[in-house]
Symmetry: C2
Subunit: 285 residues, 2 copies
């Protein structure tokens, strides 16, 4: 099952037989005090720096979040999306928990966006799915609901199934629902990652939809986070994860592209070898 | 099921609930012309350099191979093993396809060695298992036989089962048989790694024995091999691999130790955090 997202002129396909879809996580003011302050003051210059760096590092999409307390998020999100679209053709994952911000974002987005996100909560489903359907977008569905984050893979599968069904009721086909199996930090729960991996396998086998998760969560609070994320991603890919909102640090992207090759999604290593040659050429100049 | 190996004074436990057992691959003249030449001339100095580097990088065991054409392998292997035992207490994986070399190696080895390796070939089983049993050693069993390297995980499982049963007939318990599920290069076969991963899962679920493979094989002939190996190892670990003969390049060992943490085999990240502090301290001096 392939999920197709688009900018004005560029298409990205997320799917089990495709190279992994790397969604750059960086354009997000959460935990970035200076960046939040800049955005608050209408200074969007860092957005372009983050955009360029992530694209240079190999991001296939970028996540864009503009949630800052006491800021008009719909207006800010629309401005940031407009700026990015003026400066690149990368397809965008529009990220907000505020329905008006998603609405404003989708209004200015030219293409088929990935909306991040809806949950299994009835109220959220009824608010967000009509909006997604109206814009012909795809949507990330988080496998949690009114009762919180389920501990077992089976419960997460049930919520994922509920989201896929609810989307269908709104005319959104399963290929436009990307389930987030939820990655929690292993620093707080030593079972967190094994639960996530089992959830990924279960959703792949039972639902067969694409999946996306915030990969950096697993390493929260621990040192050498990039290295931990780099170890996590191949495991999740082998279990069936098809995309992630993630750091584009080189060790993380190398890990994903290496796993692509190893899992047979980069035939004869063509992309891997091309990247190697590009780096050698860059070193030689 | 835990496999226990020992040097004179040090014990290493290989098991599904243990941190991954990193077996340094470096002390092996295959493909190392200069090293082979040195060994041929009785110069063992590089052995000690390789030993020290691998231990500093975090190897739990070292593989030792002394196979050089036209060289008295039993004598050379015994010399190298003696030298290593004089200079460290690391448990050793004694690596040869020559029965007389394994015999000479086991004769000078003080502890419980891991013998690398036997195959599912009747003749090899009848030659090597009595030797392993006599020395109370553990043995790596390669999942191939007279017919070559099986293409399917099911066929590899059958050979693994045959080896475990044959070992039992010689009084070697299943915990002293470590199966090599066979890692072939993905550069020659895009399905190679997925087949290996399925084999690992199958052997874990059906036999439950420990497993060890030559991890670097997967990247043979490709550029940036360490990065590929680093992406492979977490996938194999999540599938159930419990040890590997591998490069101790930092990106590989970081990947393994990160996966240990993520899979719940480094409670609260104690080892991961200790390593981080040690590196910070080393930088500060």
């Amino acid at each position: 099952m392939d999920t197709v997202v688009r900018s004005r002129s560029k298409t990205v396909v997320i799917g089990a037989q495709q190279p992994f879809c790397v969604i750059g996580e960086r354009i997000n003011p959460t935990g970035r005090k200076k960046f939040a302050e800049e955005l608050k003051n209408g200074d969007l210059s860092t957005v372009l720096v983050d955009l360029e760096n992530q694209l240079a590092a190999g991001a296939n999409m970028v996540d864009v979040n503009a949630g800052i307390p006491l800021v008009d998020e719909p207006e800010l999100l629309a401005s940031v999306l407009t700026l990015i679209q003026e400066n690149s053709d990368v397809p965008i994952c529009i990220d907000s928990s505020v329905i008006e911000a998603l609405e404003a974002g989708l209004a200015v987005y030219d293409g088929k966006a990935l909306v991040n996100s809806v949950t299994g909560e009835d109220e959220r489903l009824e608010e967000i799915l009509p909006l997604v359907a109206r814009h012909g977008a795809a949507v990330i569905g988080l496998a949690n609901d009114e009762t919180g984050i389920p501990e077992t893979p089976q419960q997460r599968l049930e919520i994922a199934t509920k989201i896929v069904n609810a989307a269908g009721d709104h005319g959104i086909p399963p290929e436009d629902v990307v389930i987030d199996p939820l990655a929690m930090t292993v620093g707080a729960d030593t079972e967190a990652v094994t639960t996530t991996l089992e959830t990924i396998r279960l959703i792949r086998d039972e639902l067969g939809v694409n999946m996306c998760l915030g990969a950096s969560n697993v390493s929260f609070g621990l040192p050498r986070r990039h290295e931990l994320n780099a170890a996590f991603l191949p495991m999740a890919m082998a279990a069936g994860l098809t995309s992630a909102i993630m750091s584009t640090a080189q060790v993380c992207v190398d890990s994903v592209r290496g796993a692509d090759l190893l899992l047979g999604h980069d035939a004869w290593g063509a992309a891997w070898i091309a990247e190697h040659r590009a780096r050698q050429a860059a070193l030689a100049t």
